[in-house]
Amino acid sequence: MSKKVIELEDVVIKFSGDSGDGMQLTGTQFSDTSALMGNDVATFPDYPAEIRAPQGTVGGVSGFQLHFGHTEVNYPGDYVDVLVAMNPAAIKANVRWVKPGGTIIYDSDSFIEKNIKRAGYIADPVKEDNLDDFNLIKAPISTFTEKTLKDQGLDRKTVMRSKNMFALGIVYWIFQRDLTHTERFFEQKFKKSEKIVAANKRVLKAGYYYAETIHAMPRYRVEAARIEKGRYRNMHGNAATAWGMIAAAEKAGLDLFCGSYPITPATEILQELANRKDLGVKSFQAEDEIAGICTAIGASFAGNLAVTTTSGPGLALKGEAIGLAVITEIPLVIVNVQRGGPSTGLPTKTEQSDLMQALYGRNGESPAVVIAASTPSNCFYYAYMACKIAIEHMTPVILLTDGYLANGSEPWKIVKMDEMPEITIPYASKDDKDYQPYKRDLETMVRTWAIPGTPGLEHRIGGLEKMALTGTVSYIPENHQVMTDERAKKVEFVQKSVPDLKIIGNDDAELLIVGWGGTYGQIVTAHSAMIEKGKNVAYAHFHYINPLPKNAEEILKKFDKIVVCELNMGQFVNYLRMNFPKNHYRQYNKVQGLPFTVVELVNHFETLLEEK
């Protein structure tokens, strides 16, 4: 039986089910296989809100979305082509995200009254959510899994636990995926039980062959992408951040110290660092965020590359101590993985609303460098750069990522350490007989770093205003002005090494789209869609927020119509208004705990083009 195979550019799939249904694993298998087959991939897990909701409820739904393609894939997709739903709640939670005419494959065995009610349907999900408008495939996943494993000597719990592999088998067939990667994965993971390995293989294949027999089952081909040659691996945002910092420490020849307190969605950075004792990482799980940053300040003073990692509420707690790092002028990296606020807010959801806090959330005139990563994998690069800037400019650097980047993943071309930019430490000279802790290099305004243990460079630093050069406490009015100016200048001068802002598109575009941080994937896709539609729009994405790139003003000046898109109520646009007040800025904002959708962006840009 041979089917018509449809060629596709790219596809978005979401695996969705109860927390216990193994959807994260299923999704990861699909995404790894696709990457190995040469597709470009982006993935995003969608965990239930912190505490487990009762089984079968919408609150308890766990999902894994992935986007793969034969062209560049920049984000995990907003609307899905294929939804795999293990129970009614998974449909309830996701149906609004299925593309018109998309495919929904669901476990028809789970459509029993209890589950239907728990999901919040009254009686018939198909009717209540107009599921017939989709390509609806009822697959008796549970019973077929059971059948497949009958007489294998497995208990029911183990049997039911493998039903996700039946679903995966179906989807592998649809997209003509190779089963070997997943089979090997079974062999690794269940090393201890051949029986379980065999069972999983069986169920996977059963799903695969089941799909073949179903008439309504579509079949697609997504060709390998034309991506750069080289060795790749999958990179999660938080792991990438952790690795970027370890890499910087290695390059600089310093020990890495991380003082942190767990907080969603930043915790995995600390966890990843705790795992890397083999690379000498000192991870210090502190009693709170304040101790996290203060231990890091101590470690920095003592000569380690010191970092602290957190999310919004934790950053609020660190504000006072960031001020200490600003006035003492020591290297320090503060990673803030933004989440929905204010207060505890939407802790598992993404947002970009900590920008103002990063810039201004502390007392006094207290300038620090602020940069932002824009994709899960480039968290590696920006974490590395955050460390480099912190060390070379003797300053705290705040790196902003967000829940979307932190939890997302994508293939990443492995870098070679000897190709990473050098990191030069502004050590104080050991022979300096008249060492002055606050003497500056006038080109950069950077002071030198004297590490405890070095004879002859003994000195004291602290949070009181200090005399220029000597660093002793000073209440002299004019000196305070001098030091305030110098600290500001030092941060400004980081601009000299900030790469120029690039624009995608033409200088004479009718509309300049501006973004920053983790919205890159959606905006760049929306921008491409606009170009494909023949619209003359340009796109500028900011990674360096303070200082802004040298050419930013010049670029912005070129455009009459500028729209700044961000997942907050307008923080970056206001920052641009402060810095470059001459331009007129429009703004496009959203705070729903979710990334932009490409669709809403495109619609908005089109409307803007029509406006005079």
Partner: protein
């Protein structure tokens, strides 16, 4: 070190004018510490002083060593970072009763619990000196201060009890007007591997003068101080004829030669006993019933966080195939695009 010239107290004095009030107890502590440092066998460049904010916290500025004058309450956390970053440093935390017991209470108890090898000198004047006289968590119940014009209504912490309640391994106490005693105690603290808490009863002449008056005054001190020494009998008093006995739940004062009490009946101080029962009673003793215990009250050797972390790293390093970032990045699931 053999070729080095022996340093003296003067080598540890920075060029900064000491700015405490005349008569402030902090001066004595500074002098003692400057005097003992040359004897510790640690090079000057390997010493770091860390403090928070308060009168007492100005301390690092006066020391010609490495130093951080931190932010209020965070000295313990900053010092922890210094020590974990470089365990070769001799790290001293200088703090006040407000700095360490009010805003810094949490870092204090966690430092103690982790047993990081830091010497903490807690200058307890039972008042906020720097902010000019508000009550602190060690101020006496009912004390009248600027923020308790009608008397406080809070039970004070006893730093010794809090230390032991936080799994503390070393606690000692001294007084600002006995430099000899301070010298002994601070040297023992410095020699101890692990968090050592030394409470110094310190007089703030301006905002809480004579808060420790009964304990430190010449007339009463012999009867209200007992100087504990590990392995020695708990004897005190002007005539050295008073002693402590332990009745099963508490300590009692007895007089040698009275009621048939002989020196043999007097309890021997055991600072090394793991079980903190007696230490807990000792730290609590207070006049008029009992003398205040001075000296090293508790000193237990135990693994330190600052050693453990390095040991664990070394052990993991030895067993891991991943030796550098290139290894890590190429480990696990990778694939080649050709």
């Amino acid at each position: 070190m053999s070729e080095k010239i022996k340093l003296t107290a003067k080598d540890f004095k920075s060029d900064q004018e000491v700015r405490w009030c005349a008569g402030c107890g902090d001066h004595a502590v500074l002098n003692v510490i400057q005097r003992i440092l040359p004897d510790l066998g640690v090079e000057k460049e390997n010493i770091a002083f860390v403090s928070g904010i308060g009168c007492s916290s100005r301390f690092p500025y006066y020391m010609d060593t490495y130093g951080i004058h931190g932010i209020h309450g965070r000295a313990a956390a900053i010092a922890s970072g210094v020590k974990v970053a470089n365990r070769n440093l001799s790290v001293w935390e200088i703090t006040g009763d407000g700095d360490s017991m009010a805003i810094g209470g949490n870092h204090f108890i966690h430092l103690v619990r982790r047993n990081i090898d830091i010497n903490v000198v807690l200058l307890n004047n039972q008042i906020y000196g720097l902010t000019k006289g508000q009550y602190s968590p060690t101020s006496k119940y009912g004390q009248i201060t600027k923020t308790s014009p009608f008397g406080t209504i809070e039970n004070p912490f006893c730093p010794g009890q809090l230390t032991i309640g936080s799994q503390g391994k070393f606690f000692a106490r001294s007084v600002d007007n006995n430099m000899k005693h301070m010298t002994i105690v601070l040297k023992e603290a410095a020699a101890h591997r692990g968090t050592s808490i030394v409470e110094v009863l310190q007089n703030c002449v301006i905002y809480n003068d004579k808060a420790h008056g009964v304990i430190t005054a010449k007339a009463t001190r012999d009867d209200f101080q007992i100087h504990l020494v590990h392995g020695e009998k708990m004897i005190f008093g002007k005539e050295k004829n008073k002693g402590l006995i332990y009745d099963g739940i508490d300590l009692k004062v007895v007089t040698i030669g009275e009621n048939g009490v002989t020196e043999d009946d007097i309890f021997v101080h055991d600072a090394h006993e793991e079980n903190p029962t007696i230490h807990n009673r000792l730290v609590k003793m207070a006049p008029p019933e009992l003398p205040v215990a001075l000296g090293v009250i508790r000193a237990i050797v135990a693994p330190t966080y600052s050693d453990n972390i390095i040991n664990q790293i070394e052990a993991v390093k030895e067993n891991s195939k991943i030796k550098c970032m290139d290894d890590l990045m190429n480990s696990g699931n990778t694939w080649e695009v050709k």
